[in-house]
Structures are given as structure tokens and as C-alpha cells.
């Protein structure tokens, strides 16, 4: 059974009289421990893809099975639960809570699981040391560099031990040196057994992934396995 199974997924937006087909009948399966890159130009539907994959949005038509569960019939609260347990988000703009320090940011998703403070601290410290930030736990996001912020965000995604790490342009706001650092981290996480999905428009980033899904006009244009490049 596939971890992710899209069956004829479409997402339509109404802009005035026009219907925008952001996704137009997409079928795709992703297996556990895949390392997938969704690439495409802006408007190709990859962001919508990401939102639906991440259970932030409902498709207009089609069926989405995550871990064998039909996501499409779920309520807002059930989707929240899925996001909490199954998906670790990594955003381009990091999306850390500005008034909370690194540790609190990483602990945040655990609150929604009802885990008590002591245990939260232990789990969050583990996640932060996994991304080599154990010495920055009491720093606010504004006191951290871009690369460090993204690593906090990755720790936050890891802390819930999700089935999928879902990264949306994870290096879009980072310089090239930090980009390499972060991609190295993704490579490591993949080799540790995580399923990693990256949405990007940069070919450089996509090269790190094993499977390349190219999108255009809301459709999958090309889906191919590629030779692993770069060193991990």
C-alpha cells in the first residue's frame, strides 16, 4: 500500500467568471521513504499540490488516501490531527512563532497532542540536537540566522515523528552555502528512513532528490527516477 495515493485529484478556483484549474486530474503514488521533488514554474500547480498533500486544503474532486485513510471525507479537526501526526511542514519563510524561543517553537506541535511540558522538553531537545542546534534553544527566531531558523523549523517538523516531511521551497530564502547545509540535512533524514517531499523551482535542489516530478498547468508532465547526485 502506498503512503500517498492521489486518484484523479483536481482543484479548481473561481476567479470571477473564470475557472482556474490549479490541479487538473493528478494521479500519483508515493511510497514510504521516497525522496521526491515537485518542480515546475510558478502557476504550475505545485503549491496547490503541496497544500493538498499537507492536508491544508481539500481537492475539488478526486480521492486522496494517506496511509490508507481517505483524507477527503475528513473534517477540519480531523485534518488538523492528520497534520499534527503524519506531516512535518517546512516552509520557505520558516513560519516560526516570533515571540517563542527555539525550544518553545519545537514544542508547539506537541501541545496539540496533549503531551506534558516535561516530556515535551525532552522530545524537543532531541529534535534540536538532531539539527545541531542544542546550543541555541533559548534564542528567539529573530536572534537566529536564516539557516538556523530553517533548522529550528525542521526540528519542529521532526519532533512529532511524522510519516512525511513536506518542504515548500525550503531554501528559497537562504544563501547558497546554507542551502547546501540544509539539503545535506534532508539527504541525511532521508537515509534515516524519513519520507521527504520537496516542492521547489530550483533544479539544483531537485537534483538531490531521487524522484523528480515535473508539473505544468496543473498536470504531471514528467515523473522519473534520477541518478543520485551530490555527496551526502
Amino acid at each position: 500500500m502506498s503512503l500517498i495515493k492521489f486518484q484523479n485529484i483536481s482543484k479548481h478556483y473561481h476567479m470571477g467568471d473564470q475557472v482556474v484549474r490549479a490541479l487538473d486530474g493528478v494521479d500519483i503514488s508515493i511510497e514510504a521513504n521516497d525522496y521526491v521533488a515537485f518542480v515546475g514554474t510558478s502557476g504550475s500547480g505545485k503549491s496547490t499540490m503541496m497544500n493538498i498533500l499537507g492536508c491544508l486544503d481539500h481537492p475539488t474532486t478526486g480521492e486522496y488516501h494517506l496511509n490508507g485513510n481517505n483524507v477527503e471525507v475528513m473534517s477540519a479537526n480531523e485534518l488538523a490531527e492528520i497534520r499534527n501526526r503524519e506531516i512535518g511542514f517546512i516552509f520557505q519563510s520558516f513560519n516560526l512563532l516570533p515571540r517563542a524561543d527555539a525550544l518553545s517553537n519545537v514544542m508547539q506541535p506537541l501541545i496539540y497532542r496533549g503531551i506534558h511540558l516535561k516530556e515535551r522538553k525532552v522530545l524537543a531537545m532531541d529534535a534540536l540536537s538532531r539539527v545541531n542546534l542544542e546550543d541555541r534553544v533559548d534564542h528567539l527566531p529573530s536572534q537566529l540566522s536564516g539557516g538556523q531558523r530553517q533548522r529550528v523549523a525542521i526540528a519542529r517538523a521532526l519532533v512529532t515523528k511524522p510519516s512525511i516531511l513536506l518542504a515548500d521551497e525550503p531554501t528559497g530564502n537562504l544563501d547558497s552555502k546554507t542551502t547546501i547545509e540544509i539539503m545535506k540535512l534532508f539527504n541525511e533524514l532521508h537515509s534515516e528512513g524519513h519520507t521527504v517531499i520537496v516542492v521547489t523551482h530550483e533544479a539544483e535542489i531537485a537534483k538531490h532528490c531521487h524522484r523528480l516530478v515535473e508539473m505544468k498547468d496543473g498536470k504531471i508532465f514528467n515523473d522519473s527516477m534520477q541518478q543520485k547526485v551530490g555527496a551526502s
Binding site: 497544500n51 499537507g54 491544508l56 486544503d57 477540519a76 479537526n77 488538523a80 490531527e81 497534520r83 499534527n84 501526526r85 511542514f89 516552509f91 513560519n95 516560526l96 512563532l97 516570533p98 515571540r99 517563542a100 508547539q108 506541535p109 501541545i111 496539540y112 497532542r113 496533549g114 506534558h116 519542529r156 512529532t160
Partner: protein, 408 residues
Amino acid sequence: MWFALMESSRSALSSILAHGFRSFLTTLGIVIGVASVISVVSLTEGLSASIGQQIQSLGTNNLTVRSYTPLEDRMKGISARLSNDDLDLIESRVEGIASITPILFAHRASQVKSGSNTAFSQIFGTTYAYQDVEQLYAKKGRFIARSDSLTRRRVCVIGETVRTNLSLPEDPIGEYVEVAGEWFKIIGLLDSKGKMLGFDQDDLVILPYKTMQSLMGNQRRSDIQIQLTVADQAEMENVRERIRTLLRAEHGLKAGDADDFRIQTAEQLSETFNNIINTVTVVVGGIVSISLLVGGIGIMNIMLVSVTERTREIGICKAIGAKRHHILMQFLVEALLLSLIGGLIGLGLGYGLGALIAMSIPSFPPISIPLWAVVMALGFSGLVGIVFGILPAAKAANLDPIDALRYE
């Protein structure tokens, strides 16, 4: 539930502290509302406690009979009165009276002179029985005696304040004072009773009853007050009813007519005061509830701003798994805490304010804050927080995660 409350309180507190000054301004409405209710309640409660005590000390088996003229009649120039005949009637026809005395107040002549000193005082004539009725005794010299009244002797008993005001010696017995152009020899100095409701109970000059009558001249028009004590407190109502029946018959009142006199007990007096105080409390309560309402709207306003400001944060929280109730709770608890903190500050401030006012008014009794006022103040501010927090919190909880995440 407890877990959710704890977590929400934690994040609410950090958010309140993050905008310290704004939070303070937001909750100021609640602070002012609660502070005003607490200060007023603490003052009125202190006052009512002390009035209660003082009225009880007047004696619970005292009755006062006085004439009563409705305002309408008074404007027509009619005035009811109690006469010596009424006194005689009560004295001879009502059973169960321990002691009874008439009191005749001076109309105009409230001036007392001694040498070059002049003082204004309450002057009235009464009989020897007054000391038993009022439990007021002479500490120096003696009280008015039966013979003083019968022979219309020109003597008087004065209170401590009068002695001081007229610069009379410590022992004024044998000195003379001038009242209404007549000279009176001081035969007694009364025990000091202190003040009640700011009214000096030691500022009085007592003359023999008949001396006072002769001083007033026209007896027909004089209106007396009758004070009496009942031998057995259980008989109070019977005595009262008997007096009422007698006086109604004597005054020729028909069945439908209202009494032209009032018979008051100490208890009634304290009830009257309590009624006044309760009315004040209700009125103030009404004003305060308006200010709490305004405070609540202030909180709602800032919470709505806060939700908009934190739209993106809400989006992040939703993306990492916050359910509707997590977000709802977070904002609701924040409004609640803001409100409760305001209530607590208001409580302290109101107490301080009440104490300050009580101290600055001479002879004002110490303030007291009843538990119900504390519970109500905090309960109401909490309620305001919840009622006015629910709308912003629901707005936050209902945000769409994608829209919220994209919000700039």
C-alpha cells in the same frame, strides 16, 4: 481540559506580557469599574456595620413617638403635633412601659452663652426619666430631678462639647450659662457618648421639662417627642399597637386616615439606614456595570486587533496541528486573563481608595470588604472577559489555515 487550560494560560500570559502597555490600557476599563465598585462597597459596608452597632447600642427596647406631617399638609400650613395630653394618655393607659419621658426641643433659641463665649447647641427640655430611657448619666454633679421640673427651676445639664465650646472649667458645676435670655445654673456634666454618623452626641443642653415649656411660652403649639422603654422586649409590638390605637382615637383619625405620628424602634432606624445604603449600592452597581460593559468592549476591540495581527501565527499553529478548540481556547483565555488581571488590580486599587477616603473623612468608620463583593467583582470581570472574548476567539478559530498562512 485542565491541560488545555494550563497551556492556553501559559501562551496567553506571554502574549499579554509581550504587549505590556497595550494590555494595561486594554484592561483599564475593568480596573476602573472594579475599583469603583469595591471602594464604594467597602465604604458603605463599613458605614452600615458601624451604624448597625451604634443603633443597637441605643437600646433595642426603645420606642420613639413623634408627630408626622405629610409634605402636602405641611405646604398647606397644617402641622401635626404631639401634646402633653398624648403623653399623659400613654403614660396612664399603656401597660408594659418601663420609663417614659417627653422631649421638648427649643425652636429658635439654640444659642448658649457664658461670659463672652457663645456656642450653638441642641437644647431641649425633658424629665428625670430621660436618663433611664437613654442610658445617659451625669459624670459630675447630678441629672435633672423631678423637683427641678415641678418648680421650673433655672438649672441645666450640659454635654462635654458644650463645656469645651464655652471654655468652662473641668468641673462646671455651679457655673451659669445664658439660654434665651435667661440664666441657668449648671448642675451636671454628662458622660461623653462620642459621635454617631458625624453627629456630636455630646453637644447638648438639657433643661427641666416644665422650665423649657415656660421658656417656649405658647404651649398649645408646642410639639413634643415621647421616648419610652418597654419593660419586656417581647411586648414591644403590643405596646406599639396600643399606643397607635390610643393616639389615633385621641387625634380623632377616621378609619381611612393615615397616622399623623410615627412610632419608631431602633431596629426600624437601622432598617431605614440599611435601605438607604442598599439603594446607594444598587445605583453604584448600575453605573459600574456600564463601565464594565465599556471595559469589555475595549477588550473585545483589542482582541480583534490581536487576532488580525496574529493571523499568520494562527495559520502556523493550524498547519502544525492546532484544532479549532485549541485556537479558540487560546484567545478566550487571553481575554479572560486580561479581564481577571484587571479585576484583581481593581480590587487592590478599590481597597486602597476606600481606605484613603475613609481616612480622609474624620470619624468615618473603618472600611470592610465583604467576601461577596470580592467574588462578584472577580466573577463579573471574568464573565466580561468570556462574553467579549468569544467573538474574537471564534474569529481566530474559524480562520482557514491556508488563508491565514498566506496573510502578510
